[in-house]
Symmetry: C2
Subunit: 459 residues, 2 copies
């Protein structure tokens, strides 16, 4: 290769992390004067789509799958990216700097960016003899999954019953989507559901689901399904069963890093990569997005949090760094949010920071309290109940975590706490800082600050 030949950047994966990296690399290269030839391979047929939006498409809030596509393949190509869809990479030779596709093609690179994401986990009981899910069973991850669910919902009769296996964010969102179509819904979960929340908040989510008309079955592990003519008709667990016309599997995702097996690259138990803040994994090897763990700043721990917002940020930092820039993704503080909305039932659900278990595992001495209040001044029609859980470390007074369940305006309150966590601030900072107050939006002592103050008084 001559000195003037462009650096061949090969990106695997055409969603948030990969495409953010690709575009940012080209942007930064224009500034730094580097010559890059960026190629992106993806085994799917879509680029830059919002997986988080699929439950809302299923619900009918979003008109079509195309609406979930932030940038089409053509738009990426017009920006100078060599994009190839339907190309799956099955092996990599890091020493030779080549990857091998499912068709046996070898593709050479100078820099490899792994942004392969994390497909949905599918348990054995969901699969028929051909290795595909039985009819009526599916996951919620790709646009094709979403399209399949739209078809299944449209074909299902009025009295159809949907069993949702898994009660994380996706499980709750999909339960809402199914109920909006008027289907009966049963949510089954191994533990107590909403494992990202403390018990006292998680149970409020369970209750809201029940209030909206769902069945919620906690603490059960699905052992099998009933199938008639290749089509699911029920779900079984130890000591119980439920008739079902449709079964949504929402039990999590797993990093798509199998093609790196045996490469010697360090991975977490689930196969997740652990790139540095610039996206570097090893020499000439970069990674970002759902195929990676991310660094949680509060306890300086690797955790697996496949989220579009981390993917977009880490991808951008990676692309910049690869092209000679200095942007870095300096970890996260474990913020997340969702909502459950059906008829009169409306609940925002959010968290940031550590759980009590995380804090204890980190050797901290957590003090936590739940505080009840209202989202607006009590005399305003906007006022809705809100429950806020705040946790701090006894000796250092450091804020450790905040969780919220409540009405309109409740959820994004965690953002102010996330900013305190980002800065390593104390529960006193949260209690006394200057949040915007007016009666339609808050109480004069904002409920988040009352909650923080109550914890501060107990340290």
């Amino acid at each position: 290769m001559s000195a003037s030949a462009p650096t061949r950047v090969l990106v695997l994966g055409a969603d948030a992390a990969g495409m953010s990296a690709a575009h940012q690399a080209l942007r930064t290269a224009r500034r730094t004067g580097r010559e890059l030839a960026v190629t992106v391979l993806d085994k799917g047929t879509h680029t830059s789509y919002s997986a988080c939006g699929i439950p809302y498409w299923m619900a009918g809030d979003v008109g079509s799958g195309d609406d979930l596509v932030a940038r089409t393949a053509d738009e990426h190509r017009e920006a100078g990216i060599g994009l190839r869809l339907g190309v799956e990479v099955v092996a990599a030779d890091l020493a030779a700097r080549t990857v091998t596709t499912a068709d046996g093609e070898r593709v050479a690179y100078d820099e490899l960016v792994v942004a392969t994401g994390a497909p949905a986990s599918v348990p054995d009981w969901a699969l028929g003899p051909d290795g595909a899910c039985w009819d009526g069973i599916g996951v919620v991850k790709t646009l094709d999954d979403g399209a399949a669910w739209r078809e299944r919902f449209a074909a299902a009769g009025d009295g159809a019953h949907v069993v949702v296996v898994g009660a994380g964010y996706v499980g709750v969102e999909v339960a809402e989507a199914a109920m909006r179509h008027g289907f009966g819904v049963t949510v089954l979960t191994r533990g107590r559901g909403m494992s990202m929340l403390e018990d006292e908040l998680a149970e409020r989510v369970d209750l809201a689901l029940c209030e909206a008309g769902a069945e919620v079955v906690l603490g059960v592990e699905v052992t099998g399904v009933d199938v008639v003519d290749g089509r699911v008709t029920g779900v079984q667990w130890e000591g119980g069963s439920r008739e079902a016309d449709l079964v949504v599997v929402a039990i999590g995702v797993r990093p798509a890093t199998g093609f790196l097996a045996g490469s010697g690259v360090e991975m977490a138990d689930n196969g997740a990569l652990r790139p540095d803040p610039h996206g570097r994994v090893a020499e000439h090897l970069w990674a970002a997005g759902d195929c990676c763990e991310v660094r949680r700043r509060i306890d300086d721990t690797w955790v697996f949090r496949p989220l579009g917002t981390h993917a977009a940020k880490h991808g951008r930092a990676l692309g910049d760094s690869l092209a000679g820039g200095t942007l870095s993704f300096d970890g996260m503080v474990d913020s997340s949010i969702t909502r459950f909305a059906l008829g009169e039932v409306y609940l925002e659900i959010a968290r940031t920071g550590l759980s009590r278990r995380d804090a204890e595992a980190a050797g901290l001495d957590p003090v936590a309290l739940l505080t009840e209040g209202t989202t607006a001044s009590g005399y305003m029609p906007e006022a809705e109940p809100i429950a806020i859980w705040v946790m701090a470390d006894r000796s250092s007074r450091r804020l450790l975590g905040v969780q919220v369940v409540g009405g309109h305006g409740a959820g994004k309150r965690v953002d102010a706490a996330a900013a305190v966590l980002w800065a390593g601030g104390t529960v006193d900072d949260l209690a006394w800082m200057d949040l915007a107050y007016a009666p339609p939006f808050a109480t004069a002592w904002e409920v988040l600050q009352i909650a923080a103050r109550r914890v501060a008084e107990r340290l």
Copy 2:
């Protein structure tokens, strides 16, 4: 006085600052073992009411003035506070440690807490020969003001026209209130209105008012009113006039510290006191709330920001400190919020930090940009337009200010920025920190963070 006699704490003013101080002093004294006798004098007839709620009472969102009272006089007395209403203090002898009431009574104290608030400013043109406002003219500050407006609104005919003088938060809120009753509304303002916002955001508020059917007249100074039989019938300014059935004066407030004139206590030009973070002004003299300026942390400057949330916090720190505690009110970052809601028009309006003019006055080198986006992922029905203005200092990269105008969920986004300002963080912190993301609440790159990133790229 024997060593065991309780310390006589005299609090002037029975609203947020004064009553927070009184209650916290008693709470802390129980812990520190101090003996306090707390007396509160207030010239009005109500305690602990939300002045911020009055426009919503005027609008009809709040059923009665009682709903705005957080704690009644009886509730305060039951907590052990010696409360006397209808008692106005007109002079103080700080050396002798006495105050004199309008009735000529002298009240002795050991510690004096000034929490007298800030009554609404009333221009000469509003006043009749008896020193009271002409019929049909009033301010918006006390519960009595609110009750008077309820009566005036109820008595006004269908085609009544209301002129609101002043286009700050109260002006906009009162305009909304009047329009909700179906009245025609004209907003008159000296400058360009919404002076707490940069031009490019303020004009969006003006446009929203117009879109909702209000007349907005900028850049005029009211010179007089037309009066028939003691009742206002119009408003005049240089070169113009407007017929009016009712005139709301919302041009600001002024600290009620006249009784300290000549006492030698340091005051701002408008008479505001400048207590330290513990509420101390001088020996045996304390103050908090709307009669004070507050310290803005970002540029370490005294500013007059009469807001219930500052009053409650500073009062609490004062009460604690007076009784031997260590709580402190470590200033603010100039956060505020309101909304304008009428029919289809809905706008949240919020700010935190410095204005461009503040930054330049502080010798900083501000770089600011306005960014347009949506409050939720673009494909969601919740998505509404939002405009975010972000300003940072060129050399230090420190975040200096954020302002927002937009739909549902727009306003409280400033809280995350306020937390960064509180911590003295950079615009990069704001751009890269971990805010909670899900499609109904945000875009994958949250619009606030896109706005910060755009500024960061220009430093």
